[in-house]
Amino acid sequence: MTVPILSTHELKKSYGRGQSRFDALKGVSLEIFAGESVAIVGKSGSGKSTLMHLLALLDRPSSGSVNLNGSDAILLKGRVLNGTRNKTFGFVFQQFFLTGGATVLENVILPLKIAGVGSRERRRRGLAALEQLELVDKAKNKASALSGGQKQRAVIARALVNTPKVIFADEPTGNLDSATGAVVENILFGLNRDRGITLIVVTHDEELAARCDRRIFIRDGLIVASDASPNPPHGAHAARATATSEANAA
């Protein structure tokens, strides 16, 4: 049996204390296997981003556990945790978080710089990533001078420059018009298909969710439903992706 790249067990997260205490996640168990594309779907405030932050090891659960490759991530601390995040995850957010004053290339190579990769190697890999996203001609431009679609492509280049195992995308197309959004979606699914990068997409866009191998529906901090595409686009992964959280949802 394959070990899921990420799994959670009875994950709970509450904010605040006493009267103002708010339970954002109330016990979420799920498994995500390498190479899958999974959509986390739910209404605003349902706890999607909270879940994503816990999966990305950016936050600690109040109780329950997140397991990375089968081992409890709570054991990862400090330098090791930072290194793991740096090497394993790539991030694409609804807002671009590009440094406007810096060049596109400088923005893209940031994860490599953090990883301590030498400057020549950084440049080479940064340009290769930009090449893939057809942005090489913009490498030396200021990031602030890019269009919205170009910015999101630069963000994707940054997410994949360090060859991550998992890309987290929180509302990746939320800020884009539908045509540009489609381009960005194609790129993300292309990476999932061609390179086997696990894709975890947080969205309330039905169409985007429908393109994923699997969807996990969240309401008020609980998984309410979970389904796999009847006609999965990348069947190989979907076969392994039998929804594991249906039991919880029921």
Partner: protein, 429 residues
């Protein structure tokens, strides 16, 4: 992130908000500039004093006077046995005169190698080949006392010939063409005896002395043989007791004596009723005054720097605020808190470095300019005085202090950045 990348990124970030950085750098610049100039004045003046110490007296010499039993307040009672304190004391002050018995007492004190009374000689005039008489004061050359010479040699302590060193201002007046030409020429010194008869003593010029602060000034320096001769001439007609009066005496001691041994020697002399001061004591008073003035000036400069430090705090807090998202993103991407702290605190240090290096460089340029201009005009009578001079150590010290202040100032915003929660910063507004 590699340390080198942290540094280069921090430097890059410094130039992101140019106006803000420039303003902060100006604030630091003002402080560093002031500190450079004030410490330059300290270095310059104290350096000048040090180089002129040799002109005032040697290190192994004590100037000894009789301890006066002056009341602490109110006017001093008249004592027929007092004598004008001489050139080096406060004008108008008197001290009790010493006689040969006192000299013998001093000689008997352990640690005293030799004693020489300083004879008060008051010549009336000096006359050269030009024939015009100029009024003059004289100083006896003592053991180890080194004049700053323009030309020639120190008046010989041991020679029995009458030797004199002229202040440079007298050379032309006495009809001597050049400093070099003055050496070896004969001058005539007029001096009156107790019966007001004018006597003339001839002496050979052996040296031409530079005018210097605290040194010989505008007086001629006579060697012991000449001093004794002038004193004898001056005292002609005086009875034994009246002749046997000195304001002070010079004591030599072991040149290798430690500060402790010197102070023990002073204590022994004090027990016998003598006050002894070293050259260092005399110079020390000067230096203390200058050090205090420089310290006060430095304090103002440091206040300016502390104010500038708040400027750094402000600047960096603003950039931490502005870069909240970027910091969050970097942390999400696995950048450690320590590196984030390093990024901001190095930015502060770099701003400090920019301001202080600029302040020091321009301070040196301006200070040297002012000092050179003053030396040519106001202080032209004091050759060798560079009012403001700089040494590499203190400049490096200033830059280091400013960078340290900048680091301290930067640590607050840097800590704030390092503590930032990545999720808070990434949360959409």
């Amino acid at each position: 992130m590699k340390s080198l990348d942290v540094i280069s990124t921090a430097i890059g970030n410094t130039f992101r908000s140019k106006l803000r950085t420039t303003l902060t750098v100006i604030a630091i610049f003002i402080g560093a500039f002031t500190l450079t100039i004030t410490s330059g004045i300290g270095t310059g003046v104290n350096g000048y004093i040090d180089t002129t110490v040799a002109a005032i007296g040697a290190k192994d010499v004590l100037t000894v006077t009789k301890t006066a039993n002056a009341p602490t307040t109110g006017p001093t009672k008249y004592d027929p046995n007092t004598i004008s304190a001489g050139a080096r004391a406060r004008p108008g002050s008197t001290i009790e005169a010493m006689n040969s018995a006192d000299i013998a007492t001093i000689r008997a004190v352990s640690g005293v190698l030799s004693v020489q009374p300083i004879l008060g000689v008051r010549p009336s005039y000096i006359e050269g080949t030009a024939g015009t008489k100029y009024s003059i004061t004289s100083n006896g050359a003592g053991t180890g006392v080194k004049l700053q010479l323009q030309d020639g040699a120190q008046p010989s302590i041991t020679s029995t010939g009458y030797e004199v060193a002229l202040p440079v201002s007298y050379v032309k007046a006495l009809g001597l063409k050049t400093d070099a030409a003055a050496i070896g020429s004969t001058v005539r010194i007029g001096i009156t005896d107790s019966a007001q008869n004018m006597n003339v003593v001839e002496a050979t010029v052996v040296g031409v002395a530079t005018t210097s602060l605290g040194g010989a000034g505008d007086s001629v320096t006579t060697n012991p043989a000449l001093t004794q001769k002038l004193y004898d001439v001056q005292s002609t007609g005086l009875a034994g007791v009246a002749k046997d009066r000195f304001a002070q005496a010079t004591v030599t001691f072991n040149a290798a004596a430690t500060d402790k041994e010197i102070s023990q020697l002073k204590d022994r002399l004090a027990k016998d009723g003598f006050t002894a001061v070293t050259v260092a004591d005399q110079i020390g008073t000067f230096k203390t005054v200058i050090d205090v003035i420089v310290l006060i000036l430095n304090a103002f400069a440091v206040i300016a720097l502390v104010a500038a430090g708040f400027g750094i705090v402000n600047t960096l807090l603003m950039s931490v605020q502005e870069r909240t998202r970027e910091i969050g993103l970097m942390k999400a991407m696995g950048m450690g808190s320590g590196k984030i702290f390093g990024l901001f605190s190095f930015e502060a240090i770099f701003i400090g470095f920019l301001g202080s290096a600029l302040g020091a460089a321009i301070g040196i340029a301006v200070g040297s300019g002012i000092s050179a201009a003053l030396s040519r005009t106001v202080f032209s009578a004091l050759p060798g005085l560079t009012l403001i001079s700089f040494n590499a150590g203190s400049i490096a010290g200033i830059i280091a202090i400013v960078m340290a202040i900048a680091f301290v100032a930067g640590s607050l915003p840097a800590t704030r950045a390092a503590r930032q929660d990545p999720i808070e910063s990434l949360r959409y507004e």
